[in-house]
């Protein structure tokens, strides 16, 4: 088994972008290639994650990217797993390096959706649910997470202010991220007074629809060492699944796929949650971050809301969560999100995170899922000095 490293990373700004899906994808790819100091000819395979390419008149994206990078002979694979596409794709890139099939690959996530408008975007996203039971019965994605939020609030006596604290914290972090979509300081009152989207979730409990692309260069350790460039190591990888429909879960306040993926990743890395210095988690809605940090083992079930209020997940807290601003502030270009989380880890560990740097961090975790957690992935990274 090969040790897997990340040698380069690049990302566009997240937000409403005017360029085409291929243009933003290529922009992030070039940034990653330059960051790694390699030639496109070093890339032996391309892994691309995307969900709604059809909305920008482009599917079969991988070979189009390879062709425009001047490496049309290199095999490409496009992977879709709803909002978890990036991390699910990363796992495949990781596995192929680890198994020795390739020594260097491109992992690129991209999404272009904002031009479709809110109603069409909401409808497209609802196709990621178990449509027979959810989208087809009137549930939007905010609606699905709203139902999860109500179940959590009922079981653990949490309230809407608890949810709001997640948004406030992530917007504070996003202010320090020049590539974030929503760079705006907000207060608990702002969240509570924002319009209801699907009760009990309000507009400021929800991440934005974003365009954007993020890319990584993965390689084996020999390749990384020979490059002479700084790199980080992937020390844990886990994948899990949950019933696709919320109704199929024994406990609506936990996401089984996250727990499965986290246990696998911790076991591979030989660490426990207390060894993690910071994490990028899937906060598509404020309730998601509360459930994530419990499912990942950072807090006991039902206790995260209180800990978040007390600052435990702030940049200087005991387990900083989403220093990038998370999906909530940095943005959520769904095909790119899982890769964007790892770009943040690379920037943190390579001295490129500026004011949002988590001091003395050496171990980081990323967590990303598709839909309401039907597909989930957790990865763990180690700084290499």
């Amino acid at each position: 088994m090969e040790n897997v490293c990340i040698l380069g990373a690049g990302s566009t700004k997240y937000g409403k972008l005017n360029e085409s899906i291929i243009e933003i994808a290529l922009s992030a790819s070039v940034d990653a290639i330059e960051s790694a100091g390699i030639s496109p000819n070093d890339i032996k395979a391309g892994y691309i994650s995307n969900v709604f390419g059809v909305a920008d008149k482009q599917v079969h994206i991988a070979p189009v990217i390879m062709s425009n990078l001047g490496i049309s002979h290199v095999p490409g694979l496009t992977i879709e797993s709803a909002c978890g596409s990036g991390s699910v794709m990363f796992r495949e890139a990781f596995a192929n390096i680890r198994a020795g099939f390739y020594d260097c690959v491109l992992a690129l996530g991209v999404e272009k959706i904002t031009h479709t408008g809110t109603t069409q975007s909401t409808t497209l996203f609802s196709y990621c649910s178990d449509f027979f039971y959810e989208g087809g019965n009137g549930a939007s994605f905010p609606g699905l997470f709203a139902s999860i939020a109500r179940a959590y609030m009922t079981k653990y006596k949490a309230d809407e202010e608890d949810l709001a604290h997640v948004a406030v914290k992530n917007h504070e972090n996003g202010l320090l991220n020049p590539k974030a979509h929503m760079r705006k300081k907000i207060t608990v009152e702002d969240v509570l007074n924002s319009p209801v989207v699907a009760s009990p979730l309000k507009l400021l409990d929800c991440c934005p629809f974003s365009d954007g692309a993020s890319a990584l260069i993965l390689c084996n350790e020999d390749f990384a060492k020979k490059s002479g460039k700084p790199y980080i190591q992937v020390i844990g990888s886990g994948r899990g699944g949950s019933p696709a429909a919320v109704q199929g879960r024994k406990d609506i306040t936990t996401i089984p796929g996250t727990v499965i993926a986290a246990n696998q990743a911790y076991q591979m890395a030989g660490i426990s949650p207390k060894d993690v210095d910071f994490a990028e988690v899937h906060d598509c809605f404020t309730i998601a971050e509360i459930i994530d940090v419990e499912d990942l083992g950072f807090f006991k079930k039902g206790k995260a809301a209180r800990e978040i209020r007390d600052g435990a997940t702030s940049r200087k807290g005991k387990i900083p969560i989403n220093p990038s601003g998370g999906l909530k502030s940095k943005g959520h270009p769904i095909g790119a999100t899982g890769i964007g989380q790892i770009v943040e880890v690379f920037e943190q560990f390579s001295g490129q995170a500026g004011e949002r740097t988590i001091k003395d961090a050496e171990i980081a975790l990323t967590h990303n899922f598709g839909a309401t957690g039907a597909s989930a992935a957790v990865h763990i990274f180690k700084k290499v000095n």
Partner: protein, 128 residues
């Protein structure tokens, strides 16, 4: 029975919903009961089962009321999307409950009944 044809199973499930019932499967090997659209037993992965129709009456586990509904639901004047557990067996289903405009209209634990299947809105519920 061993019929695993997904189209047949969904057709039968909808037929039951139209009779205000929920179709479930009881595994012949381990007796685990699951909603009928899940093809293999979730416990022992067996394929043989007995179909059982349960009365579509249950209680609300959780719900939401959309202010920004998805396409096809914009013209409904207030509805909840509801997850409920059947009274007669511990399985959950979910559906569309019209006429709910604010959370106070539907306390957790409220009784609901399956009230047919609508081509446009799916499994329709009624508050009891």
């Amino acid at each position: 029975m061993t019929n695993l044809n997904p189209s047949v199973v969904r057709e039968k499930f909808i037929e039951s919903v139209q009779k205000s019932k929920i179709l479930a499967k009881r595994c012949n090997d381990c007796s685990t009961i699951r909603i009928a659209t899940v093809l293999y037993c979730e416990n022992c992965h067996g394929r043989k089962y007995k179909l059982i129709e349960y009365p579509g009456i249950g209680y609300v586990n959780t719900f939401t009321i959309h202010t920004v509904p998805p396409e096809g639901f914009e013209d409904v004047d207030g509805y909840a999307w509801v997850v409920f557990t059947l009274d007669d067996v511990s399985i959950r289903a979910s559906g569309f409950l019209p006429g709910i405009k604010k959370p106070a209209d539907l306390p957790i634990g409220s009784k609901v009944k399956v009230n047919g299947f609508d081509v446009k809105h799916g499994l329709v519920l009624k508050k009891l």
